[in-house]
Point group: C2
Chain length 316, copies 2
């Protein structure tokens, strides 16, 4: 029998600091060519509509390979069930034998996504950017802020959500975490004040217009993590001085990059870098205060292998 | 906590009869367009060399979605460890929530592969074909014979293996199962007597030459289940009257079909049918005694969802 770890124990083991460190090392390893990342499985099921995403990756420097299954079933909410769930199975990278099961219900995905956003901002946002705009008030919004604090001070959060009450609830939580937070009037108002803009919605159409973005601003787009999802007007990519992706092959298939390519706003060859290359120092991040930067993050298997390995190390 | 079932209990729950029934229903459902099968993940890792395969599928008629991880690490044998392993996570198809973990160490993959071979032979081999040739003497060889017996009598098995001692051990096991079995001199000798030939090796180069195949014979090729593997000389496909695949998109990527296409021996459009279409009755199987038939089986996610669902139903 392999050990099975449950969500409560995993939550205690993985703090934002642990997550940012593990995920940063993973991006660095990726930038140095020390990962093997196969393409992901996206399984969409009908009646009720839902999806499963499966990701995995090998990392030369870690003893484990994680296989992560994440599910999303929006109709669950009306039945009092969580709309997102999942688990991670951990295997020995030298023998292929199962090592542990992490019944995290999607927590590790949430926190490694938060960590990736922080790492993107750390390399791409202006050093003095401390006002953060957030679109979406799901669990990811809070993870983004909690991880961002690991890389820089957060002076204020301005949040927007389609349902304003949920944005208000997020702001209350953030104030409880000691961060000044208020609800923005609309998406444009949030874009106008944010130096770092994080988009973390389930939108299937553009929310952010290119004309609302300003020089010197950084945008981390997280919501476009499977085919059909979109948060940015494709002209945002056209306007960006640096358009960075977490994985070119994924982003070109279903990230914001896919929409930008389809709209003719950006070519694959115009992507500045993969985030791992910037973390590893083989490509520069932001070099000028007035650059408009965009990070298109779809979530890569090496993040899952890294965070699951870190959780197992803390728990075993 | 979800229930975790271990190999011993799973072995008791899944007999060849249960496996053949569940897998037959799965192929039929697939032939009727009642499955959704995303592409698989093949992750190859270096040092020591090994691979992980991940498969999943949705079946309209089943309450679960299985995600199956299978690993293969040849160097394990020298360390006294099983070279193949794996597990299956079962999810609720209506909510995406985890339902159970089947720690089967690859057993369910073995038995559903045996069942698929039997189903292929049932529809493609001549009704009076009862002499079975087997190349390879791994665990799969025995599963093939045990499942074949569910669909027809097996009068004799002639086995070959690169290491003859292993072929002899297989024959002893089969005789213990009540089946006359003997070791063939070489691959050609096995091909010359077999009416049903099953190839279940880990070969990476052709073992079976086209000129050794005869009219009226049926070949089930199982070993070419990931890129680089091959058991049949591509001209076998050229000679076949009916070339059947379990999944066109997979076989064209890494099955025997891929090698046949690469060699110019067969076009994708010359594939007679997917096995599911034959089981569902939308395409014919064998229609004449003198046809040479080949089934190229790479293993499809719906087989895993079907067998895991059957195991859970028997165990829960």
């Amino acid at each position: 029998m392999i050990p099975v770890f449950e969500e409560a124990a995993i939550r205690r083991a993985i703090t934002p600091a642990v997550a940012v460190r593990a995920v940063r090392e993973a991006f660095e390893a990726d930038g140095l060519g020390r990962t093997i990342v196969p393409s992901v499985i996206n399984l969409r099921v009908p009646e009720p509509e839902g999806e499963f995403h499966i990701k995995t990756a090998y990392m030369r420097d870690l003893p484990h390979v994680a296989v992560k299954v994440a599910s999303g079933f929006p109709a669950n909410a009306s039945r009092g069930l969580p709309s997102g769930s999942g688990l991670i199975a951990l295997f020995d990278a030298a023998t292929g034998l199962p090592v542990a099961l992490l019944l995290d219900n999607g927590y590790l995905t949430d926190v490694r996504t938060g960590a990736a956003g922080a790492i993107a901002a750390d390399h791409l946002a202006s050093p003095d950017a401390t006002v953060v705009g957030i679109l979406g008030a799901g669990v990811q919004a809070r993870h983004q802020v909690q991880c961002l604090r690991e890389v820089r001070p957060v002076r204020e959060v301005v949040a927007w959500n389609r349902t304003p009450e949920r944005a208000e609830r997020l702001c209350e939580q953030l104030r409880g975490d000691g961060i000044p937070a208020r609800v923005g009037r609309d998406v444009e108002a949030v874009c106008r004040v944010a130096r770092i803009l994080v988009t973390a919605t389930a939108s299937r159409e553009p929310l952010v217009r290119a004309e609302w973005l300003r020089p010197g601003m950084h945008v981390t787009a997280l919501g476009s993590d499977s085919p059909g999802k979109q948060e940015l007007d494709p002209r945002c990519a056209e306007r960006a001085d640096l358009f960075v992706v977490d994985r070119l092959s994924q982003c070109a298939r279903f990230g914001e990059l896919a929409h930008a390519i389809e709209a003719g706003a950006l070519g694959e060859g115009e992507v500045h870098a993969e985030l791992g290359e910037i973390v590893a120092g083989t490509r520069p991040g932001r070099t000028r205060a007035d650059q408009l930067t965009i990070a298109d993050l779809t979530g890569v298997g090496f993040q899952d292998t890294a965070i699951a390995s870190a959780a197992f190390a803390a728990l075993a």
